[in-house]
Symmetry: C2
Subunit: 115 residues, 2 copies
Amino acid sequence: MGLSASAHDEATEVALRALVEPRRRAILRLVVDTELAAGEIAERFEVTRSAVSQHLTVLKSAGLVTERREGTRRLYRARPAGLAGLREFLDGMWVTSLDTARGMVEAERGINDGA
Amino acid sequence: MGLSASAHDEATEVALRALVEPRRRAILRLVVDTELAAGEIAERFEVTRSAVSQHLTVLKSAGLVTERREGTRRLYRARPAGLAGLREFLDGMWVTSLDTARGMVEAERGINDGA
DNA sequence: GGCTTACGTTAGCAGACACTAACGTAAGCC
DNA sequence: GGCTTACGTTAGTGTCTGCTAACGTAAGCC
């Protein structure tokens, strides 16, 4: 252990793969402060409802949205808690980097020299 | 503006696409607190140096690592500042969600019912 | 100049993924 | 029961992407 990916990294993996698709991020932003039906979401994009439905399935199984049924409609809402794992990953990067902050100046030079 | 993806989202896009690949996250973790040469990084994986080199190119152009030349060797180090955009994206999700926190209980019920 | 070391780069291939079109299903109305 | 509405699901397709193998290149040694 240590070299291989830890178990809790799997949640990060799923969230990341869900977020990498621009349309899924757009959908997520849409339902972050409003609850919307699948059809209402689909209307705002120029793709078929089928495509949106598939995106919603991915977001749902990644724990990034919740689904609530109301008659024949299915209402979706963002579930920010699903981003917790990814957040920890980023925090880990920052914290660890503080230990090597002294080397950052040279490192920054490196990225500017590169062309 | 508002509905379409904002310009600063492009940095998030690049960082996200770089991070979605598990091997690139592993590489990143490797150089987060140590500076390593490309060959040294490649030795820790069971893929060709070529593959690792391509991953490093992606990470570099995403601003997630810096490159420093030392003779024939090229030393890499993580650059956590490259994660700032993604961090803002996540923060935005959290902050916005606080406005709709009252609805979270019902939303949570939704994800548990689903099966 | 020739050799080795340590890389990046390119061509080509296999698998993953987002999409459309067609079909299946459950709820509500008549 | 039959119809419509509002969805998800499946089959099939074009495109992207991570990989290997082969080649190109720059630095250091003799």
